[in-house]
């Protein structure tokens, strides 16, 4: 768990550096080696690490627009994910998806940048497991801002009435871009949403990875045993702007400071020390994580960019014949259109 968390944190620090290259001094979202939006998850690591520890490759995870920490914890290929974020041909999706759309079928990981829209496919994965009598489970990650979405509420209901092996994990970082939680939800504790669907709702406070681990163990165990879904809300915090380049002028300074004062990684490190691990052991883990991340980033940057023509591939697995795109100008004069 600790290793997943420090890997994710360091990974994003490195991505941030790379992202800002070419975007300074004036921030231009389309400049530099990584264009487009970039949502970093610093402060969210405990949720992903604590939950994914209990998952196998055959279990499904759907992640939202802020996916890297979840992908790392689920075991998505780090090099190919990085190449994808850099828009390279050897990336997970050949450069077509980018940072919000990471797909790694080897470990059953998928993403969507549309809020809460990963929930129904997770229900579908749970349905497939049930129909086939497999003990696989599915986990949908979403933010606390996403719990107002129809897709989430409908998914809770479908999973509940069908008793499907699904765990919904809400990462509560208090903010949905500029909207504080009290303005988007009538309840402070989002796990209360579970009550209306007669499923267990559990909340874990204070970025506590160990407590997430314990709660997820129970929820995933229940799902695997055929006892239906659980809604698990985890308190995390947002250390940065919503996306890179977000000036956060809407956010009170005290709130930013409070977020920085709470660090799930430090908290877990303290727990591990209390359990007998030496600082050297922890440093060794950090070192290993840094090496792995640096290697992935170097590898990714060396990869070739896709050819422009590759844009036309992959719309279909089985492309229809005669699909037309760029045809030459039609000279109507020759075909009788001109009198």
């Amino acid at each position: 768990m600790f290793e997943d968390m420090v890997t994710a944190r360091y990974y994003e620090e490195r991505l941030q550096e790379e992202y800002l290259e070419g975007k300074q001094p004036a921030f231009d979202i389309s400049a530099g080696p990584i264009p487009g939006e970039l949502h970093l998850a610093a402060g969210h690591e405990a949720a992903a690490a604590g939950v994914c520890r209990h998952l196998r490759d055959s279990d499904t995870v759907t992640a939202p627009h802020r996916p890297h920490h979840v992908a790392i914890a689920k075991g998505v290929d780090l090099k190919r994910m990085t190449a994808e974020i850099f828009g390279r041909r050897t990336g997970l999706s050949g450069g077509k998806g980018g940072h919000m759309h990471l797909f790694d079928p080897d470990v059953n990981f998928a993403c969507s940048g549309i809020i809460a829209q990963g929930c129904p496919p997770a229900v579908g994965a749970g349905l497939a497991a049930t129909k086939r009598n497999e003990d696989a489970v599915a986990v949908a990650f979403l933010g606390e801002g996403a719990i107002s979405q129809g897709a989430f509420l409908e998914s809770l209901n479908l999973a509940a009435v069908q008793k499907l092996p699904v765990v919904f994990v809400v990462e509560d970082n208090d903010w949905a871009i500029s909207m504080p939680k009290e303005r988007v939800s009538g309840v402070d504790d989002g796990s209360q949403r579970a009550g209306g669907f007669d499923m267990p709702g559990v909340r874990v406070d204070y970025d506590d990875a160990t407590a997430v681990y314990d709660a997820a163990k129970e929820a995933i165990g229940r799902a695997r045993a055929g006892n239906g879904p659980t809604l698990l809300e985890v308190q995390v915090h947002r250390r940065m702007g919503h996306f890179m380049g977000d000036p956060e002028s809407y956010r009170p300074d005290e709130d930013k400071e409070a977020a920085h004062g709470r660090d799930s990684i430090e908290r877990l490190a303290a727990d591990l020390r209390a359990a007998g691990l030496e600082d050297d052991d922890l440093e060794e883990i950090r070192e290993r994580a840094r090496d792995r991340v640096d290697e992935a980033i170097e590898w990714a940057k060396d990869q070739p960019e896709p050819d422009p023509e590759e844009a036309h591939e992959d719309v279909f697995v089985n492309p229809p014949s005669g699909a037309t795109t760029d045809e030459p100008a039609h000279e109507l004069a020759e075909t009788g259109g001109d009198d």
Partner: protein, 342 residues
């Protein structure tokens, strides 16, 4: 006063977002029934600056941040409009229409018709459109064709600050539902540099640009280029560069897709005989096909050659070389203009 003269009479230049906001603020001052609802429109000022500064003047009651629940708040705008208010609801990215499409095309767009004209829905739905910054397939679409295809809503696509203000005044005053689609790249946002064109002189006083009046942004006698949004500026650039080679292209900015000003297009094609239609939306079953069909129906005899430039039918890819390949650039437009001339 004609538009050109009025524009020349003022020196003050605004970005497209400032111009939009100015019209909204004016209408809100005039009419208490106008209010604005959306995600991050209050304290943030709109992700694309579409409501920048409005919170200060109008407060949270009239510039309303809402939960991420497009079905609920766009549907609520429909309901409030049916009670006679004049809501403006913002769908942050047009790409998100999927989560709330029923409220848009079954409720907002059809209630007037299904009620036999007894119910009106005087609301504006604003949405950001467009790519060119590598945000991939779920955040880069223009979808002009989709909205224009479904009957019952007027569809507005400004390309300059002057147009943005005049069209917004008209949109808020219109008694029908209006979809107002602004291209992110034209807004003049700090983090997404705009081309030169969209920042224009904008008069202080309110003025309404009627829907269904296309604007000839450049006069020319050889080829008619019909386009909208960001691609007006790309087409103008292409026309300027071809002028050096003696090709004189006329550039028509549609400004509204519904209603569509077929007349201006036909008049131009009658002069030039050659038509190029440029769109940042998908190629098939969309705007380019519609324009060509109308010219074929009503002006076939004038038509000597035709070409369309649009996004081939693929979702917008993320990586830069592929995004550049599919979104029409100035050179693609130049090539098309040359090709209808040869």
């Amino acid at each position: 006063m004609a538009q050109k003269e009025r524009q020349q009479a003022v020196e003050r230049e605004l970005t497209m977002s400032r111009a939009m906001v100015e019209a909204i603020a004016h209408e809100m001052r005039e009419n208490d029934e106008v209010f604005y609802m959306g995600e991050d429109v209050a304290d943030y000022g709109g992700i694309f600056d579409s409501t920048e500064g409005l919170l200060d003047e109008f407060g949270h009651d009239r510039i309303m941040d809402v939960p991420i629940s497009e079905t609920a708040y766009i549907g609520a705008a429909v309901g409030a409009a049916q009670r006679g208010m004049r809501p403006i609801a913002e769908l942050m990215f047009a790409d998100f229409f999927g989560v709330c499409m029923d409220q848009i095309y079954n409720q907002m767009a059809k209630n007037t018709y299904m009620s036999g004209g007894n119910v009106s829905v005087p609301m504006v739905l604003t949405a950001a459109v467009g790519g060119t910054y590598n945000d991939a397939a779920q955040h880069s679409q223009t979808l002009y064709g989709t909205f224009a295809h479904l009957p019952g809503m007027k569809v507005v696509v400004p390309s300059t600050a002057y147009d943005a203000k005049g069209l917004m005044h008209n949109a808020i005053r219109d008694d029908d539902p209006v979809v107002y689609m602004f291209h992110k790249r034209l807004m003049g946002i700090g983090w997404m540099p705009a081309p030169d064109g969209p920042k224009t002189p904008v008069p202080d006083e309110p003025y309404a640009i009627p829907f269904g009046s296309a604007d000839v942004k450049r006069e020319g006698s050889d080829v008619t280029v019909v386009t909208l949004g960001l691609h007006v500026h790309r087409a103008l650039e292409a026309a300027e560069s071809l002028a050096d080679d003696g090709i004189d292209a006329e550039v028509i900015d549609l400004r509204t897709l519904v209603p569509l000003d077929t007349e201006t297009i036909l008049e131009s094609v009658a002069e030039t005989g050659r038509l190029v239609v440029v769109d940042e939306d998908y190629r098939s079953h969309g705007v380019t096909g519609e324009i060509i069909a109308r010219v074929a129906e009503e002006g076939l005899a004038d038509l000597e050659a035709v070409e369309r430039v649009a996004v081939p039918d693929v979702p917008l890819p993320y990586a830069r070389p592929m995004e550049d390949e599919v979104i029409p650039g100035t050179e693609d437009i130049e090539t098309a203009i040359r090709s209808v001339r040869s």
